[in-house]
Symmetry: C2
Subunit: 519 residues, 2 copies
């Protein structure tokens, strides 16, 4: 491992400033130190991406699909190295690293299959009607085309599936955008292993240099320079609300504003209705506990808010307390996240009207203690601070009436998910609640918990602000590809000059909308 | 005519400040004076829209389609009044007003047919696979849902097709968003006639009050208050770069940023290649002249930049000069636009290296003189001021080599359109030019001129910034509907609680993507 950035097919200079990964379980710095790229190296990476764009975007979709599949294979070939380094850098268990590697290569292959199938370009053809009166109709054809070079900021909590070759990179590369990755300082070594795999795949597939670069260094300095660069046309980010909003503001203030797709913060409300709670309190408590503590609670879909109808909550709470009391503490991803978790839970614990009703044994340094709080609907509605995400295995239970829950739901900010548990009888009365939740969330879950985000064609992992920067998008699933595209129309164009997707005889055999009809 | 705002189904108070339409042909103020809404009236309009949203968005698509068709019929019923008042307010000829009325009702009906067909919601279904290992697959279904109340700013240059019941309003209403229109001060009377037709249709169709309001008053005060209001979820705008950017900045600075779809400025480059220019100079000059002077040049697709290969340009220029010399001057939409046109053309005329090669007879007050300028590629490349739009019947011709045109194309900002004229032989060498133009524009036109924007499923009337605020969108054609939507996913949802579009037995019979296959 070299500890330097990937500037196209070259590596950066090993000059400072340096920073090292810290093993969160031991708090020890790991070798090698990682060098921040120089300003010139950042510029070179952008220029290479800009130069690669006209070439890369015009490659046949099948060639880009092969590239994605080759990346997947090259990542699988280094799965052992990823697992070893990844566990040490993130504190996550090996099974999680291996599972996430599987998800990452699966994602790459899903986008490749999307390219093979071809309908994602939304090809539309309207034939000319030269005889139409009063004005002849011209021939107009349109399809989605890539925006340009994309900057991807890696997530701390997904060292693979939302980092170097994760969903943002895969979706941007799929549609024809070169990618510059800003690696996360928590797992630079894992990032280097994956970056090597991507670069190897790019060279093997004859991709233009600059189609992919990975830069280390500070998010503010290196990341900020990338987001402000005129050649960059979109940004993908997974992280905190503060970080995401800073990027949004930077992008909006550019002479040419660009889209930022930031997946930020969410408390993922879960509502349990009276009948189901009476029938299945213990089962529900177990399911909630599993979702709350999965991955030490470090998921954007962690259930941070639970609404329980007053009078039906006792058995559920007792069962949950029992689970939490004997729950293992877990190593968090890094010291900053751990500190933020401790501060957030301490603030909630100290909040007037809030009771800590369940907490695991005290945690060692770097570890998180699963914790559950309780307050009334009135208390919750009186303080916006209680809506803040506590990133980690903590949740706030609100007890109140279903009527009060409507008021709470209406008061919530945008969320990635909203979950409702109910029987058929419960759901018969849930209309008004569901109506509100649908306006607040990207994904509505019935009789399930929010963790676990299926990577598929219909997934929406997005939601109104501030859960994401742009509720019109998803960062998981094939619809994520739309983020990095724009429609382009061709008018009265000789067939030879049209993209294959729009040629009259449909050489790629893709589904198209022709004169208003799907065929 | 009352001269007051439409606040849901009520009319605003007739208290000041007032402003009147000015007939641009006579410079006379027209009756009645139009009252700015009070701050309370603005708030009421927004609250009514917010209250209408949950009702309106859940109406069956067929009911919204009926509403759009009823609006169209009600507008047709007042076509004579529109033509009379519209001509007086805009200086546009009656044929244009009647043609634009036809376009407006056609647009409304096209969106209605989009609703009938149903594929626009992008319904996606992935069935559960409970036996899948290692993790069972859940049932996930998604479709596009409306964003919420939308503010539409009317265009000065399209008193019907991009005003009260124009493309922005039609596309927002189609997908289930209530609309608050900020009327344009140039044509308040036309706006009132159309607003009455829309309100009549809304009441006739039993729409919830607040689905549609129309406010008069200042863009900064009334418009700004609307854009900043937390209940507003998106903005549509057609107008100047300055106005559009101000709205973008306002929207980006909100606690919850919202999308702004502003269609702003474009110089719509036209390139004529050597062989076609040699063969058809006079025909091309005639076509160019028609496009340049159509509607007194007051189209966002007006051809403001023409690239002619040095050595082949003489016949074209001579023919164009002859046309321009005898061209009629025309009344511009309003005094502000006329003043801006005179200033812009004066600045270009005074620019070092620029020659005024053709100009019509001197114009009367309020009128525009068609004007053509000429400069070298070197001059153009040395001054960014020459890239500025001159809104009206003026264009700048650049002569140079095809090589220089590549540099010019690369230097251009984002454009709504780019047009190339060529023979088969010309096009055989046009690859590099087309590659650049495709990155710069929303629509590529072959052997045609940019004016005339077909309203259809494949139209892209958008383009990279600054031609629009958001190159990922179009403001014309059915794809305009996507601007006001976001995807929502339903997980493991009882069939009865799903929208009809996602129910298992497909009661609406719409095309859907089921388990990755179109059916």
């Amino acid at each position: 491992m070299l500890g330097t950035s990937f500037i196209g097919y070259s590596r950066g200079a090993s000059v400072g400033p340096f920073s090292s990964a810290i093993n969160p379980a031991t708090q020890e710095a790991m070798e090698p130190p990682y060098a921040s790229p120089t300003a010139q190296e950042v510029e070179t990476a952008v220029q290479l991406a800009a130069k690669a764009f006209p070439v890369y975007r015009n490659l046949p979709a099948a060639t880009r699909a092969t590239f994605l599949r080759t990346i997947a294979s090259e990542i699988e070939a280094v799965a052992d190295a990823i697992a070893a380094r990844g566990c040490a850098e993130t504190g996550l268990p090996e099974a999680r690293l291996r599972g996430e590697t599987g998800r990452t290569v699966g994602q790459l292959r899903l986008f490749a299959s999307m390219l093979d199938e071809g309908s994602w370009v939304d090809a539309r053809i309207e034939h000319a009607q030269p005889e139409r009166t009063p004005i002849p109709k011209v021939d107009i054809r349109s399809m989605l085309r890539p925006l340009g070079p994309v900057v991807v900021f890696c997530a701390s909590n997904f060292p693979l599936a939302y980092s170097v070759a994760g969903g943002d990179s895969a979706s941007a590369l799929a549609v024809g955008c070169p990618v510059i990755v800003k690696a996360h300082s928590s797992h630079p070594g894992t990032s280097e292993i994956v970056a090597q795999a991507v670069i190897k795949a790019a060279q093997q597939c004859g991709m233009p240099e600059g189609v992919f670069s990975v830069l280390y260094g500070s998010g503010v300095t290196v990341g900020g320079a990338l987001v402000k660069h005129p050649a960059i046309k979109a940004v993908g980010f997974t992280g905190s609300h503060k970080g995401g909003r800073a990027l949004m503001d930077l992008a909006a203030a550019r002479p040419e504003p660009i889209p930022v797709y930031a997946e930020m913060s969410s408390i993922n409300p879960v509502v349990m209705m009276p009948e189901v709670l009476a029938q299945k309190a213990v089962t529900l408590a177990d399911g909630f506990f599993q979702s709350l503590t999965l991955g030490v609670g470090q998921f954007c879909t962690n259930p941070g808010l639970l609404l329980l109808p007053s009078g039906s909550e006792a058995d559920f709470i007792a069962a949950l307390q029992e689970k939490i009391a004997t729950a293992a503490t877990g190593t968090m991803l890094n010291a900053g996240i751990c500190k933020a978790y401790q501060e957030a839970t301490a603030a909630t614990a100290a909040h007037p009207g809030v009771t800590t009703i369940a907490s695991a044994q005290a945690a060692a340094a770097g570890q998180a203690t699963p914790t559950v709080f309780l307050c009334s609907a009135e208390t919750f509605l009186s303080s916006s601070a209680l809506c803040d995400e506590m990133f980690g295995p903590a949740s706030l239970i609100i007890t109140g009436t279903m009527e009060q829950f409507l008021t709470i739901a209406e008061a919530l900010e945008g969320q990635l998910t909203a979950s409702v548990h109910g029987t058929e009888g419960d759901f018969a009365t849930a209309g008004p609640l569901l109506e509100i939740l649908e306006r607040k969330a990207g994904r509505l879950i019935f009789n399930g918990f929010p963790t676990g985000v299926e990577v598929c064609h219909s997934m929406v992992h997005g939601g109104p602000y501030p859960s994401t920067s742009d509720g019109r998008s998803t960062s998981v699933g094939t619809m994520a590809a739309f983020r990095f595209t724009r429609p382009v129309a061709w008018q009265n164009t000789p067939d030879a000059l049209l993209p294959d997707e729009l040629k009259e005889n449909n050489p790629l055999g893709i589904p198209r909308l022709v004169d208003g009809k799907h065929c």
